[in-house]
Amino acid sequence: MGFEILLQLTVTGLAWGSVYACIALGFVLIFKSTDIFNFAQPELMMLGAYMAFALITLFKLPFIVGFIFALVMMAAIAALLEMMVVRPMVGEPVLSVIMVTLGLANVLRGLTGLVWGYEEQQFPSPFPDDPIMLFGAAINQAEIYTIVATAMLLTIFFLFFKYSSSGISMRATAEDAKTAFLMGINVKQVFTASWAIAALVATIAGVFLASFTFLEPIMGHTGLKALPAMILGGLDSVVGAIIGGLIIGVVENLAGFYLEDYLGSGINDIAAYVIVLIVMMVRPYGLFGTKEIERV
């Protein structure tokens, strides 16, 4: 009995962790390449989920088609946001840029509420409702799909950044934009691309999160858990963001179940921050971060 529950909790934790990991990955991608901390990243996730929702329910598109259209539209929206809202802010004080992305988050949330209302909505999940049995534990299928899809997505990203020449050029730009110019790299294009990619990952996270929860304009608040994930991993580490996300997803689920009786029902919400505090005391720059990074 104990093992089944542990397994169930771990799978659920990994599914949530996958969502955190995707959002954190988006944060890190943008932060690494443009040095901008995009507080609107969770809202991009929310908007992506609503976009897929609208395409599937309003236009009666099959799930996968609606999903793909949502990905394309979100990438385009993020690219436009980068060019029109963010780029004019390059070189401005860090705090101003933060205010702009915070403002952007509020605008996106407000617009979504205006268009779709503030109530919770059922997302047309493509995954079967009945759980599957795994080693005697009943597991929600949407969670399994979320974990598998995220694993595949991250593998594709890894291969792209490791082996493709565009991926290598993007990493080079992230490290040193000035020298990237010398290589003939179109640095502005790389900045725009990193926003588009971050929106893609966010949309994927949003669709899966909505599939095992529901839609609401404040679902971006879930994305705020990506913050401790990222701090845990180290602000500038892609691998760190992913592992940080998974750790936080699993820990908060386990803590919520096993420690609730002793520490009260809020424990799952603060578990993430407790872990971050502990890690920061030992490794101030996160599990995988670089030492000299400037913190926001």
């Binding site: 020449s165 000035k178 020298t179 010398l182 790299i185």
Partner: protein
């Protein structure tokens, strides 16, 4: 062929750093570009590479022509594609990328296909065999000399017809410097790449080059065949560290020299 005419550059709209310099790098030649710290050598290379904009600098006057095409207003991407690459001061390798990835980044602008790029990858490694053993290592962890080699290898991957090197000898042991200069010379003859070599190490630079320019305070004060420059008394005294008597010159002498330089040029 690179031709610069009467180039003036200001930083931040006010600081005039290049005060009308002219310079030519003929196809296939090695040209030494000398001068003490702060003279404006790196600024000149920045102007040629189209990087001034990112340093709040601007070309106020003059022309930079590459193979007859005016490049003053072109961005760095265009300029690399036209065939000018730079090995920047302080090497500026991408420390987080592996050595192999650094070399590949240099080929970013290439569109002639993977097999050509792969062949050049092997070609640059044949010039720098020391890098071959370190391809998978993060570039931040290799030695200074290896980083300099890597920066040159990376610049070569763009298939330049002109490669500009900004103080490649900086911080390296003399033996290593002569090794690197020898390779530069070989690249020049074997790959037919013209070289503009910025140096403070005047002796070595003049030894490998055919022609040299000497710059002070944003102006070219002296130029000529490198052999001639090496014999010039002023050059000997102030750039090659050879003085007729052992005692060091006072600052007043230097000022006197500056006045005379104007007359020389």
């Amino acid at each position: 062929m690179l031709q610069i005419n009467n180039l003036e550059v200001v930083y931040n709209d006010i600081i005039l750093v290049l005060r009308g310099i002219s310079l030519t790098v003929a196809d296939g030649s090695i040209v030494a570009f000398l001068g003490s710290n702060g003279a404006g050598k790196s600024t000149t290379l920045r102007a040629i590479s189209g990087l001034l904009e990112y340093e709040d600098g601007e070309i106020k006057k003059g022309a930079i022509e590459f193979n007859g095409q005016l490049t003053n207003k072109l961005g760095p991407q265009k300029i690399v594609r036209l065939g000018t690459t730079q090995v920047p001061e302080g090497r500026q390798i991408f420390a987080e990328l592996s050595v192999g990835e650094n070399i590949r980044v240099g080929a970013h602008t290439r569109s002639d296909g993977k097999s050509e790029v792969d062949r050049d990858y092997q070609m640059v490694l044949s010039y720098f065999p020391a890098l071959r053993a370190r391809l998978k290592v993060q570039a931040g962890y290799i030695s200074g000399g290896e980083q300099q080699m890597l920066a040159i290898a990376r610049a070569l991957m763009a298939r330049p017809s002109l490669m500009m090197l900004d103080e490649p000898s900086l911080g390296l042991a003399p033996l290593l410097v002569s090794e690197i200069f020898e390779i530069i010379k070989r690249i020049n003859t074997e790959e037919k790449v013209s070289i503009l070599l910025v140096e403070q190490n005047a002796l070595m630079a003049l030894a490998v080059s055919e022609y040299g320019y000497i710059m002070e305070n944003g102006k070219i004060v002296l130029d000529g065949a490198s052999r001639k420059l090496m014999e010039n008394e002023d050059v000997k005294e102030f750039y090659l560290g050879v003085t007729e008597d052992e005692k060091r010159k006072s600052f007043a002498d230097v000022k006197h020299y500056k006045r005379r330089k104007r007359w020389l040029s």
